[in-house]
C-alpha cells in the first residue's frame, strides 16, 4: 500500500494566484481521512495535486515512491481515483453503465473484467436499478453516486471524494457511509472533503483541517472539534451534540450522540 505524501507543496494558478501554500501532509496507505475547512481554503486544489490533475508549483507530491511531477495525470489515475465536486464535470456518457465502464475499458481490461467491475461498482453504490438510465435524468445527488461508481470501477489504491455529502439526504449519507466502510475493509486509502460535521465525526478517525491555503491542524474528531481556535480559523463549527454539551459546561470531549446522552443524564441525576 502506498503512502501519500505532500512535501512543502504549494500551488499557484496562472496569474500567480496562490491557492495552496507550503503544506505537509502524510496519509498512510489504507487510511480513511477527512479534509475539512473554510471555502476557498485550498482543499480541492490540494486533492487535485494528490491525483496529479495539478502538479505542485513548489515542493513535491509522492504516491509511494512516485513523484507526480515525473508522471502524466493518466498514469497517476491508475493509482489515484478522483470524484469531482460537481458530477457534471465528470459525466459524459448516455447511460450509467457506459459511464462506469469507460475507465475500465480505457485500461484495456477484458470484457468479462469490465463487466465484473461495473457490476461491483453498481452494487456498492446501490445503482443497479439505474443501470440503463441516462445520468442526466437522475437527480444531482444520485449523479454524484454515478461518478463515485465510475471511480470505484477503476479499482485504484487511493480514492478521493470531493464533497460527496453536498446535497445528500439521510439515505444518501447512509449509502456513502457504507461505501466508505467497504472501501476501508478493502484496505483502500480514502480521502474525503466534507462540510457535514456530523458525517465527519461519525465516519472518520482522522481529520485534516485547512484554512487560508494551509493545513492548520490534523487530529482525531475529539482533538479537532474542541479546539475553538482551529474551528474559528477554518470557519467550522462543532457538531451540534458537542455544542450542546459545551453550553451545558459538560465534559469537553463529546463528539458522539451516545456520549452526549450519557453525560446529560449523569448531569441531571447529579443535580
Amino acid at each position: 500500500m502506498k503512502d501519500l505524501i505532500l512535501k512543502d507543496a504549494s500551488f499557484s494558478y496562472p496569474g500567480d494566484f496562490l491557492a495552496v501554500d507550503n503544506i505537509n501532509i502524510k496519509i498512510k496507505g489504507g487510511e480513511n481521512i477527512a479534509i475539512i475547512g473554510q471555502n476557498g481554503a485550498g482543499k480541492t486544489t490540494t486533492v487535485k495535486m494528490m491525483n496529479g490533475l495539478l502538479k505542485p508549483t513548489k515542493g513535491d507530491v509522492l504516491i509511494g515512491n512516485l513523484n507526480t511531477k515525473d508522471y502524466t495525470t493518466a498514469q497517476i489515475s491508475r493509482y489515484v481515483g478522483y470524484v469531482f465536486q460537481n458530477p457534471d464535470d465528470q459525466i459524459f456518457h448516455s447511460t450509467v453503465e457506459s459511464e462506469i465502464a469507460f475507465g475500465p475499458k480505457m485500461m484495456k481490461l477484458t470484457e468479462a473484467e469490465v463487466k465484473k467491475r461495473v457490476d461491483n461498482a453498481l452494487k456498492l453504490t446501490n445503482l443497479t436499478k439505474e443501470r440503463e438510465e441516462n445520468p442526466y435524468n437522475l437527480p444531482l445527488s444520485i449523479r454524484k453516486f454515478v461518478t463515485i461508481a465510475a471511480v470505484i470501477a477503476m479499482d485504484t489504491e487511493i480514492l478521493i471524494f470531493d464533497e460527496p455529502t453536498a446535497g445528500q439526504d439521510e439515505v444518501g449519507n447512509e449509502r456513502l457511509s457504507n461505501i466508505l466502510k467497504t472501501l476501508h475493509l478493502q484496505n483502500k486509502t480514502v480521502i474525503t472533503i466534507s462540510h457535514d460535521m456530523e458525517f465527519v465525526v461519525n465516519n472518520f478517525e482522522n481529520i485534516i483541517v485547512m484554512a487560508k491555503k494551509k493545513v492548520v491542524k490534523s487530529g482525531t474528531p475529539k482533538e479537532i472539534f474542541w479546539d475553538f481556535e482551529t474551528l474559528e480559523k477554518a470557519n467550522l463549527k462543532q457538531p451540534i451534540v458537542s455544542d450542546i454539551c459545551r453550553s451545558l459546561k459538560l465534559n469537553n470531549s463529546v463528539v458522539h450522540m451516545d456520549d452526549a446522552v450519557n453525560q446529560i443524564i449523569k448531569e441531571i441525576n447529579n443535580s
Binding site: 465536486q85 439526504d169 439521510e170 463549527k237 450542546i244 450522540m257 441531571i268
Partner: protein, 283 residues
Amino acid sequence: MDYELECKDVTYTYPLAQKPAIKELNLKIEKGKLYGVIGENGSGKTTLCSILRGFAPSFYKGDLTGEILVQGKALASYKDQISRKIGYVFQNPFTQISGIKNTVFEEVAYGLENFGIDVEEIEKKVINIMQLTDIMELAEKSPFELSGGQMQRVALASVIVLEPEILIIDEPTSQLDPQSTESVFKIIKKLKEEKKTIILVEHKVDLLAEYSDEMIVLHDSKIIKQGESREVLSDLSLREYGIRLPEVTLLSEKLREAGLDIDQLPITKNQILDLIEKKRKGE
C-alpha cells in the same frame, strides 16, 4: 385572503416521463414566512420549486394540470414580469452563472442591467448586496475561477439584488463551510424580516429547525406533512420516509429512551437547553 403563492390540485409530468414528478399539490404560502422544504432526493423538491416559479412547464415543457396563483392571479398571466416577482436560486450554482460576464461584479449586476436600471443605481445595489453576502473580495474575479462555495454565494447575491418579493432557494448552502452556511441563513432571516416570502429547500434540518416558520415534507411526489416547524420536525415517523430529523430531535429522543420524561421533543438548541435546565431543577 390572497396568498403569496397558492397551488390548487397541481399535478405535473415531465416530457416523456412515465409518472408525475408532483402529484395533487395543494399549497398556500403566506407573505413574510419562511417555509423549509424537505424530503428525500427524488421526492419532488426541485420540481416543486420549478412549478412555483413557472419553469415547469414553460421552460421544461411537460403537462401541468391544476391552478397556480401568485398573489391571487394566475402565474402564467405575469409572463416575463414573473422574474421581478419571484427570484429563483438554482441548486447547482453553475446553472445560475450567466457565462457571459467577465467579473463577479458584472455577474451580480447582470439581472439589474436587463431590467434597464440606471448604472449608478445598479452599482449602489450591487455593492450593498455583495457586502451582505460577503463576496466583495471576489468582485474582480471571473465567475468561473470561483470555488463551488464561492459560486454558490455569488448565485444567491445575483438573485437577492433583484429584490423579488418571493424567493425560491434550492439548497443554497450545499457546498458551503459551516460558518458560511450559518451566515447564509442569517441573510435569509434578514430577508424574512423585510417581509419577503421565502421557500427554502435544504437538507440541513438543524438550521431549518432554527429559522423556518413552517415545513413542507415531500415523499414520492406528494406533500405528506405540512405545518409549524416544531410539530413537523419532532415527528419521528418521518424517518420511515428517509427524512433526516434535527440532531436535537434525535438527541432528545435518546434522552427520552434513557428515562427522561419529555412530552414534545425539542428541535432547536435553545429548546433542549431549556428542557435540560428544567430537569436539572427537578421540574
